[in-house]
Structures are given as structure tokens and as C-alpha cells.
């Protein structure tokens, strides 16, 4: 770990003023991990873990969640369990209680890939070292992307929470060093790799996530399902966040996000389009899944993820449309 200056910010404003030349430290569960390996080498850490961003407030515009709220606090919040159960499940499907107690909402969005070529400094990785190449393309790539990847990077985003946030159409609120703020749809926070895979997201240098807003009236049927090798404490092979309503026997407000398949939480817009306002049946589900995965590409070890994703989409749609459980209005 490279020596660095440590400052504790007293406010978000102070943090962004100090943060332009450094990195923000939230829970640190991913940043410190990568700093020990000198994959991340900041000169300065701005500790934002004790900012007054730990509140969760309910309002007309939705649920306002401070970026410093821990993953476990968010998952266990009564309103989240009641109104956004897929988010609670997604959070609780990730990592462990110890990590969730430390990891923050803001930090969870910004965690970096688990690609082992990113972690091994001796290997070529355009994300770690732009221009060096991608050893995962022809390497061990069982966990890698099948959608939206490029010849420069096939890494996937490892978060469960971000997948849920994308499906719920949450909004990420930020503060920039110049004091201005902006709202970014969670589904648009992360980027596809293209030829600049070292850039994970659309935030500018020194821009701080201050809050996340969850819409006031999410769909009433929600599900998060994670496929993984171990039954706990494992990153997703593939995961799905699904939300929808059933109105007069037809699907409405269908929202699907896939995890573990792309450089970002993957909103399945093609599938959503086919499903919206249709009567649920097996053939429809299969068509929607097929449409979404029509352009999926495997890289060898991860070829199976295409069929697995298709099966997962279909199963999730089946289970949720047949479910008797709806969240209270």
C-alpha cells in the first residue's frame, strides 16, 4: 500500500473540496483490498464514512437513502423490506454480514470488478493498465461478460445491490467539487467498457455520491435471485432483479436487470418491451429471454451463462407472475 494522506471530511462540501486529488473512503471493503495489492494507489484518502449521510427518509418523492448508509442497515430497514424487498434480498445476497456492516451504499456502486486478471498485476488488463491488453479474453473467463463486452475488456460488475437499484429505477444524487449537484439514473451510472474499460462509471473526478432515491411507488411484485457456486459468500454467476405489476391479467411496469453478465447492471430492455402489456405465459417468457440474449456472446468458459441467463429470466418471470405475494400499496 502506497503511503497516502488521510483526512476526515466534516461535510460533503468539505469532502468534495478535498477529494478532487484523492479518493473517497466509505466502508473501504473494496478500496483497501485493492490498495493492499497496489492496484489502487491514491495519494490521499478522504474519509466520508462519518458524514451525516446515514439517514433514510421517506418522502413524497420516494425513499431518500444517504450514501453512507451501510448495506446491512439498508437491507434491514423496515421500509426497504416492505416496499423494496428485491433490494433487501439483493443486499443480503451479497458478501457477508461483516462486510455488509462496513460497506456503504455509495461504495457498493463503485466497487470494482473481480476479474482475476485485474487482480494479478503480472497479467495484461486494460482496466488496470490501459493499453496493456486483456488476458481474460483467451484466459480463464467463466465469470466474465456475455453482454455488452468489447475486445478490450470482458469484466463484469460484481455488485448485487447495483443490479437491484437499476431494476428499481433508483436515482443517484451527487455533489461535484464545484458545489453543483446532479441526479443520475442508477441504470446509467455504470458504463460499458468500449475502448476505455478503465472507466467504470460516469462520475467525474471528485464527484461524490451523497444519496440514492428510490421511487415512491415501485412495482408490487419483486424478486431477486442469485445463481452462485457456493450457497453463500460468493459472487453471482448470474443474477436477476425483476419487478412488475399484474394489471387485469397483463404484465405492467416490467423491469428486469441482470447481474454478472456485463460491465454494468444490465437492464433487459428488449425483454421488457416484449413483456409489457402482455399476458404472462411460458412462450412469452421464452421469447422475451431469447430476444434479450440474441446478441449475447460467450468467450469459452462462460458460454453456459447464455443458456443459464435465459433459464433464469424465464424462471423468475414464471415465479413472479404466479406468486401470490404482492407488497402492500
Amino acid at each position: 500500500m502506497k503511503p497516502f494522506d488521510y483526512v476526515r471530511a466534516g461535510s460533503a462540501q468539505e469532502a468534495v473540496r478535498a477529494g478532487a486529488e484523492g479518493r473517497f473512503l466509505g466502508g473501504g471493503t473494496n478500496l483497501v483490498d485493492l490498495m493492499k495489492l497496489e492496484i489502487e494507489r491514491p495519494d490521499k484518502l478522504v474519509d466520508v464514512s462519518r458524514l451525516a449521510t446515514e439517514e433514510i427518509e421517506d418522502g413524497d418523492d420516494g425513499l431518500l437513502v444517504g450514501a453512507g448508509v451501510s448495506n446491512s442497515a439498508l437491507a434491514g430497514h423496515p421500509l426497504v423490506r416492505e416496499r423494496y424487498p428485491l433490494l433487501s434480498t439483493a443486499l443480503l445476497s451479497g458478501a457477508t454480514q461483516q462486510l455488509r456492516n462496513k460497506a456503504t451504499v455509495g461504495g457498493n456502486f463503485l466497487q470494482r470488478t473481480r476479474c482475476q486478471y485485474f487482480y494479478d498485476v503480472f497479467r495484461a488488463c486494460n482496466k488496470r493498465e490501459p493499453g496493456s491488453g486483456c488476458d481474460a479474453l483467451d484466459g480463464i473467463n467463466r465469470f466474465h461478460a456475455i453482454l455488452g463486452a468489447s475486445e478490450h475488456c470482458i469484466a463484469v460488475h460484481p455488485s448485487d445491490m447495483a443490479v437491484a437499484m437499476a431494476a428499481l429505477d433508483a436515482t443517484v444524487e451527487t455533489l461535484k467539487p464545484d458545489g453543483s449537484t446532479r441526479s443520475i439514473p442508477a441504470r446509467s451510472l455504470h458504463r460499458l467498457p468500449g475502448d476505455t474499460p478503465h472507466i467504470d462509471h460516469v462520475l467525474e473526478a471528485g464527484e461524490l455520491i451523497t444519496h440514492v432515491v428510490l421511487p415512491a411507488s415501485p412495482p408490487k411484485r419483486q424478486l431477486y435471485r442469485k445463481v452462485r457456486d457456493r450457497s453463500s459468500y460468493a459472487f453471482a454467476v448470474v443474477s436477476i432483479a425483476l419487478a412488475l405489476d399484474l394489471q387485469d391479467g397483463r404484465l405492467a411496469n416490467v423491469s428486469i436487470a441482470l447481474g454478472g453478465v456485463a460491465h454494468k447492471p444490465w437492464r433487459a430492455e428488449r425483454a421488457e418491451g416484449i413483456l409489457e402489456d402482455s399476458r404472462p405465459d411460458a412462450e412469452l417468457f421464452a421469447n422475451a429471454a431469447d430476444a434479450e440474449l440474441a446478441h449475447a456472446v460467450g468467450h469459452g468458459h462462460n458460454d453456459f451463462k447464455i443458456d443459464l441467463s435465459r433459464r433464469l429470466i424465464v424462471a423468475a418471470l414464471r415465479d413472479l407472475s404466479e406468486s401470490k405475494r404482492e407488497i402492500a400499496a
Binding site: F4, Y6, G28, T29, L92, A95, Q97, Q98, N101, S232
Partner: protein
């Protein structure tokens, strides 16, 4: 170097730390408390689990400098003097360890787990009301690897303590 002052197992301690020092290394190296163990140093095994301000965390991934003013409980602080805590006793009688290396982390996790249940914090296997049962314990203890495979006995030890009148 940065000054930090913490409450560790009920005692106030102060130290000057390198900003790079983890809470785990502060405990083990600076404060001379090697009970908390380093199994991976990357939050992937749970051997370093300690309780900070009432919740369990991986002390290896947490910078000591960020814990100024915090209250930390380690395995060295679980017993009441010579008298082992109910969980410590149950771990011995249920043979909830073999080599013992993961045990400090398992015990801190288990201690915090019982409080999490009391506070009604859900896990991914919770369906509705939070109650303590085998499945809940298995899920909630999955952040503490045990290579010797004492998992069943760890579950039994925790169940035996949870079953005791408070």
C-alpha cells in the same frame, strides 16, 4: 503518523498509527493483542472479525486511523475475567473448532449474531419475522470460514446458548 484513541475491550488505548495500518494490525502489532487472526487480509475468511460499536466487521479491511473514538471488542474481551462467556464455554463443550485459528473470528461473529437477532436484523434466509434457527445461523456464519470443518458444532454451540434463558 496519525493519533488514534479507541476503547478496546473496555480500556482506552491511544497510539500513533501509519495511515496504512489496518485495525487488525493495530490490534496485533501495536497493541500486542494477537488474538484476532489474519487468515487472508482481504475480507474473505472472517478470521479477523471483531465487534466495533456493536456490529461485527472484518478488521483487516478497515483502516485503524478511521476508528478514532470507536469501541472495539476482540476475542480477548469476550470473557468476564477468568469466567468464559456462554458462547466460549459452548464452543469448548461442542468442539466448535479444531485448529482454533478461525475461532476468535467465529466467536466475535457469533456474539454479534445473537445481538443481530435480538435487534431483528434480517438475513437472506429470513422469511418475515427474524427468529433464530439452524438455517439462519448457517447463513449468518458463512462469513467465517473454517477449514477444519467445525461448522455443525459451531451451529450447535450457538443454538445451545440461544436456547438458554437470557
Amino acid at each position: 503518523m496519525y493519533p488514534v484513541s479507541l476503547d478496546v475491550n473496555g480500556k482506552t488505548v491511544s497510539a500513533e498509527v501509519d495511515a496504512r495500518t489496518s485495525l487488525l494490525d493495530l490490534l496485533r502489532e501495536t497493541l500486542g493483542m494477537p488474538g484476532s487472526k489474519k487468515g487472508c487480509d482481504h475480507g474473505q475468511c472472517g478470521a479477523c472479525t471483531v465487534i466495533v460499536n456493536g456490529v461485527r466487521i472484518n478488521s483487516c479491511l478497515s483502516l485503524a486511523v478511521s476508528h478514532d473514538g470507536d469501541a472495539v471488542t476482540t476475542v480477548e474481551g469476550l470473557a468476564d475475567g477468568e469466567s468464559l462467556s456462554p458462547l466460549q464455554k459452548a464452543f469448548v463443550s461442542h468442539d466448535a473448532f479444531q485448529c482454533g485459528y478461525c475461532t476468535p473470528g467465529q466467536l466475535c461473529s457469533a456474539t454479534a449474531l445473537l445481538d443481530e437477532i435480538k435487534r431483528g436484523e434480517p438475513s437472506v434466509v429470513t422469511d418475515g419475522k427474524v427468529t433464530l434457527n439452524e438455517e439462519e445461523i448457517r447463513e449468518r456464519m458463512s462469513g467465517n470460514l473454517c477449514r477444519c470443518g467445525a461448522y455443525n458444532n459451531i451451529v450447535d454451540a450457538i443454538l445451545s446458548v440461544a436456547g438458554e434463558p437470557a
